[in-house]
């Protein structure tokens, strides 16, 4: 559906991926004696959408940074298709992308050049093919009019979509999202949810989403995990979150506003 052809007749569409499985085994990480992840283990199946929820500071983003190789674990290992994620073999042969919480777009480059950078640096086609591919990724997320704009000229929602488009041109087999719907209005959040689900369905991308967004987890996840204080306290289908038996999970997912006994007064006496 999304495959287009260049004037030369060569395909410039995104190919369907061979999805990869992710296995995290006994991962521990601490910063300045603060244990962020404690003996953390998790398996994500090829082509699955796994949503990891948890309070701020629970170690969700740190986990993503370990999967993509931006952090080194104190102990434990991340395996992609059974091989160490930090190995040369995986770095060279498995395409992974991370959609950063703030977008991490290159501020000195236009939206078009942000997307083209990966293709140009890895020499993945002629300039004409690169242009076609970038415009296709932008069109897919209704961003074709933003191609010549700089990141500073974009709204929050557009920045998120550009960040997803930039990940998309890499044709990732494993796509990681760090808080993709944070700071977005409800309609933009719903649009991002639809994009994440569509990309998985169209291209068989294994997807791990870190989020606080309960609606996102309920609507598009195959499985949901809840991380607290570096430990996974719940893992199951979105259905299992509707009536959680664990009080910590229900308190996190369905907090009640109690004006008579406010929480902040418990934190700040």
């Amino acid at each position: 559906m999304f495959t287009q052809f260049s004037n030369s007749g060569e395909s410039v569409g995104f190919r369907e991926n061979k999805a990869v499985g992710v296995s995290i085994e006994h991962l521990s990480k601490s910063f300045n004696k603060l244990n962020v992840l404690k003996d953390f283990s998790l398996k994500v199946a090829p082509g699955e959408i796994f949503v990891l929820m948890g309070p701020s500071g629970s170690g969700k983003s740190v986990l993503l940074r370990h999967i993509i190789g931006l952090e080194m674990p104190d102990s434990g290992v991340v395996l992609i298709n059974g091989k160490d994620a930090l190995s040369e073999d995986i770095r060279e042969h498995v395409r992974m992308a991370l959609v950063f919480q703030a977008g991490a777009l290159f501020n000195s480059l236009t939206v078009f050049d942000n997307l083209a950078l990966y293709l140009r640096e890895h020499r993945l086609g002629t300039e004409k093919q690169i242009k076609d591919k970038v415009m296709q990724a932008l069109t897919l997320l209704s961003l074709e009019d933003a191609a010549k704009k700089y990141p500073s000229e974009l709204s929050g929602g557009m920045k998120k979509r550009v960040a997803i488009s930039r990940a998309l041109v890499m044709e990732p087999q494993l796509l990681l999202y760090d808080e993709p719907t944070s700071e977005l209005d409800p309609v933009s959040s719903a649009m991002i949810d639809e994009i994440i689900a569509t990309l998985r369905d169209q291209y068989r991308v294994t997807t791990i989403v870190v989020s606080h967004d309960r609606d996102l987890a309920m609507s598009i996840a195959d499985r949901v995990g809840i991380l607290m204080n570096g430990n996974l306290i719940h893992i199951g289908t979105p259905e299992s979150l509707k009536n959680p038996t664990d009080k910590r999970v229900s308190d996190f997912l369905y907090p009640k506003v109690d004006l008579n006994n406010p929480r902040f007064k418990k934190i700040i006496p």
């Binding site: 931006l70 770095r91 060279e92 992974m96 992308a97 991370l98 703030a102 990966y118 890895h122």
Partner: protein, 254 residues
């Protein structure tokens, strides 16, 4: 103890950045636009300030020398003194100091900002080494532009000295006499020595400023602190290295 550790970490990360940048030297031919852009930033935009300062350094050198030498009646040698001082010491040193203040600070601010905004992390996730596209073109550009800036600095400094000698009453040395003394003393190998110094200083400034920028963590306050640290480190390194490089070059010369 912590400060020693921090210095050693800084030296280590700078050396690693150097090795990583050099390992991508083969890609430089595909980075022509980045190289040219950096040549423009490092060379062309620095040229006016180099010109102005060199002119006045040459002038004040001639003025001070003339004032001291008038007691001995040796003003006719001012050209030699200004010429040799500019070419062997003041030209390369001043260009390097200006480079640290003007270009080095900008490099650190830009790279630190990219690091804090996770743009550098984004490059790593794309399998694009930051050393390859952010550092290597700058190192190549500084090696290309330092000789140009140094030669221009020398020429402008000499010219400034000549003007002062002609129009200052107690010196009154004609440009012809000034440049004759200069030509008599300043040899081609002196110019090459000065350029060697400038190349070393320029390379160190860009490498250190890039390394400090890329190892920044935190927010806006840390970016400011990184810029200060980069400029101070560069100035200290220029002055310390100047002694040792001069000693080395003199040993080779003799």
């Amino acid at each position: 103890m912590n400060s020693i550790r921090s210095v050693l970490e800084g030296v280590g990360s700078t050396l690693i950045l150097f090795m990583r940048s050099i390992s991508h030297v083969g890609t430089l031919s595909r980075q022509k636009s980045r190289f040219i852009e950096q040549c423009y930033v490092i060379g062309y935009t620095t040229l006016p300030i180099v010109g102005i300062l060199s002119f006045f350094v040459g002038s004040v050198l001639a003025l001070q020398s003339g004032y001291s030498m008038q007691d001995f009646g040796t003003q006719q040698f001012i050209g030699a003194l200004v010429g040799l001082s500019m070419v062997r010491e003041l030209g390369p040193m001043m260009v390097a100091i200006l480079l640290a203040g003007r270009v080095g600070s900008a490099i650190t601010a830009e790279l630190a900002s990219m690091k804090v905004n996770q743009e550098v992390d984004a490059l790593v996730t794309m399998n694009i080494p930051p050393a390859k596209i952010l550092v290597l073109p700058r190192l190549a550009a500084v090696l290309m532009m330092m000789p140009v800036l140094t030669v221009i600095s020398n020429l402008v400094g000499w010219f400034g000295g000549a003007l002062v000698c002609k129009y200052t009453g107690f010196i009154s040395v004609e440009p012809q006499q000034y440049f004759q003394a200069l030509r008599h003393v300043v040899k081609f190998k002196d110019v090459i020595d000065g350029i060697c110094k400038a190349e070393i200083f320029g390379f160190i400034v860009v490498l250190v400023c890039s390394s400090i920028g890329l190892s920044t963590r935190g927010g806006p306050r840390e970016i400011g602190a990184a810029v200060t640290k980069a400029v101070v480190s560069s100035l200290v390194l220029i002055l310390v290295l100047d002694y040792f490089v001069t000693k080395l070059l003199l040993a080779i010369l003799s």
